[in-house]
């Protein structure tokens, strides 16, 4: 189960002061706080039962109220000698400091202030975190502020959205739930009533937000952005592209089903395409780097667009 003694000791050294700072703690909530199962937490408490001051006399050992534990409550006593947690390791402090940098790029004005001061306090404990940074493209702070305000108030917003695959401005009214990131871009995750489904909107393409007074509906939990649900849309079609070295970059920017190297510096890349307009644009951008498209019909609209543009250029 991979639960090493080192991880357990680290947890115990935090658990003992935690349970003293939180008398009569709830078993399940404590397990969640420490990121373990309740079963593991009970095993931890069983270890503590055998720990205490040297000498091992009954009065020297940590007490855990086992009757309370049966009722899902944790009451720990006789552990004053471990009243404070172990100091941060450098990795712990920097993992939070770097995470705060990512959060700062996504925050609104109010949160950004707290993020900066919290980070300064962490960085004063250990140097070095400033050498690691995360940049997120998340549009304008006032856009994020409006969206955060609407999410907190539970009301719908009207977006001024510069869609990538349509190249034009739309004004969807959506129920906003979260500001999330994927691959270095910030997104609004929202329920789009007119599509009757979850949609994401890139924050740097939202030109304006109007907060309405229309309460949001109940839509259950939004799927996690990082889990690749964009790729799992049931209406997605499989398209295979053979690319020269000049087109290989798409593998690093777009989720692929498979990538295979063929003889002669050609790469065969299989993609899931949910939006034909997106594929049209991708093919237009790749241009001479594309050796073959399968099925060939998938290229028809790109070919039509290229011909239309060429005709206008000649005019």
């Amino acid at each position: 189960m991979g639960m090493t003694s080192a991880a357990q000791v680290t947890r115990l050294l935090a658990l003992v002061p935690y349970l003293q700072a939180h008398p009569d703690a709830d078993l399940a909530a404590t397990a969640a706080t420490f990121g373990v199962s309740t079963r593991q937490l009970v095993a931890d408490l069983n270890v503590l039962w055998f720990c205490g001051l040297p000498g091992g006399l009954p009065g020297d050992l940590i007490e855990v109220d086992m009757d309370a534990l049966d009722a899902g409550r944790i009451r720990l006593s006789n552990a004053e000698f471990l009243a404070r947690p172990l100091r941060f390791t450098m990795e712990e402090a920097t993992s939070l400091a770097v995470a705060l940098r990512a959060l700062e790029e996504m925050a609104d004005a109010e949160l950004a202030g707290s993020v900066r001061s919290a980070r300064a306090k962490l960085e004063s404990l250990f140097g070095g975190a400033e050498r690691i940074d995360v940049s997120v493209s998340a549009g304008e702070e006032n856009v994020r502020g409006r969206l955060a305000e609407a999410i907190e108030a539970g009301v719908a917003v009207e977006l001024m959205y510069h869609g990538a695959s349509r190249g034009s401005v739309t004004q969807p009214v959506v129920d906003p739930v979260q500001l999330a990131t994927r691959d270095g871009y910030g997104y609004l995750v929202a329920w789009a009533p007119e599509r009757d489904g979850w949609r994401t909107y890139r924050l740097d393409r939202i030109g304006g937000v109007r907060v309405t007074d229309q309460p949001v509906g109940e839509h259950g939990e939004a799927p996690a952005l990082a889990s690749g649900w964009l790729d799992e849309r049931p209406d997605a079609a499989r398209v295979t592209l053979d690319l020269t070295a000049a087109g290989r970059w798409i593998v690093e920017y777009h989720p692929t089903v498979s990538v295979e190297r063929l003889p002669g510096q050609v790469w065969r890349v299989e993609l899931l395409v949910a939006d034909p307009a997106w594929l049209r644009r991708l093919l237009l951008r790749l241009g001479p780097a594309v050796v073959r498209v399968d099925p060939p019909e998938a290229a028809t609209s790109a070919v039509d667009a290229a011909r239309e543009a060429l005709a206008l250029l000649r005019a």
Partner: protein, 322 residues
């Protein structure tokens, strides 16, 4: 008396945790250095072990504690007999110092602890917040429920390069078919990909490395604190070169209502354009022909002539597929 061994999740590793925790408490409570023989008598898990087994077990436990960040000090109580070595943990070095975070800062830290999409860093961040909670500082995440950023770090070399960058120690890996020794200056994530900027000792110059293109495991190639950082401008120049450069001016015709993202920060211009189009001055990046072809007939290049020729050649390649 308490019962015998703990339940099913216990066993060897639980007994080891128990022994290490008892050792910690023993050394933390001691006012003087505790000698090995005393440790062997005082800490329950060592009792009954043979001399050789005790020595081996104690050495391992001590190393493990240090790896967890517990400051186990070595020294002697007797200046006349400095060979009589003992151990202690000073409380002031052990305990998390009092930290003052206000409610807003704590909420930010609560969100930050969930940012990592990387098993190891997620675990570290969770541990750090558990320590804050253990000192009585509880983040209230509901204040900032709207914010859910995440940072992925799945590149195989990431953990070694992260540590090397923090500790300023050189690393070795294969990149573009060559073995390299690199002095890490900066680790940076751009559009979701991690890059290392550093001095490539093999070539004697600074450069950036994309972590997803490392051709081997990364390993340490020197001790912590053994590299010097360059002038901040040098790092800044490398960072700037990672950004998609958009500094080539161009004149384009854009169909009314289309390509909003391209013209959002552009200036309108006067030029002869097809019916239903308007002229704009924009700044383009390195792959300008591909960037404009992306818009199909919604955006037409007008000037400079090399750009017009490049876009035309690009689109002709697409038109030739049919």
């Amino acid at each position: 008396m308490r019962g015998t061994t703990p339940g099913s999740l216990g066993g060897v590793s639980a007994r080891k945790s128990e022994r290490i925790l008892n050792l910690t408490i023993c050394l933390l409570m001691a006012r003087r250095f505790v000698e090995r023989e005393q440790i062997r008598t005082l800490v329950e898990g060592y009792q009954g072990l043979s001399q050789a087994t005790f020595e081996r077990t104690f050495e391992r436990d001590k190393d493990e504690l240090r790896a967890l960040g517990v400051p186990v000090e070595t020294g002697s109580n007797n200046p006349l007999f400095p060979d009589e070595v003992g151990y202690r943990i000073r409380r002031r070095d052990f305990e998390l110092p009092p930290l003052e975070f206000d409610a807003g800062e704590l909420a930010a830290l609560g969100v930050a602890s969930g940012v990592w999409d990387s098993a190891r860093l997620a675990e570290r961040a969770t541990q750090a917040v558990a320590k804050l909670r253990a000192s009585g500082l509880d983040p209230d995440a509901s204040r900032v429920a709207a914010f859910a950023p995440s940072v992925a770090a799945h590149e195989p070399g990431f953990e070694v390069l992260w540590q090397a960058t923090l500790e300023q120690r050189p690393v070795a890996f294969r990149y573009r078919s060559r073995p390299r020794v690199v002095e890490p200056w900066r680790l940076t994530s751009r559009t979701g990909a991690w890059y290392l900027i550093g001095l490539d000792r093999t070539r004697g110059e600074g450069r950036s490395f994309k972590l997803s293109r490392l051709e081997s495991e990364a390993r340490f190639a020197g001790d912590p604190g053994t590299i010097a950082l360059p002038d901040p401008d040098v790092v800044a120049a490398h960072l700037a070169s990672l950004e998609a450069r958009r500094d080539a001016p161009a004149l384009v015709a854009v169909r009314e209502g289309a390509a909003g993202d391209l013209i959002r920060f552009a200036e309108p211009a006067d030029a002869r354009v097809p019916e239903g189009y308007r002229a704009w001055r924009v700044e383009l990046g390195r792959d300008a022909a591909g960037d404009l072809a992306w818009y199909g007939a919604d955006v037409l290049p007008l000037d400079p002539p090399e750009l017009v020729a490049a876009v035309r050649a690009h689109l002709e390649a697409v038109a030739a597929w049919a």
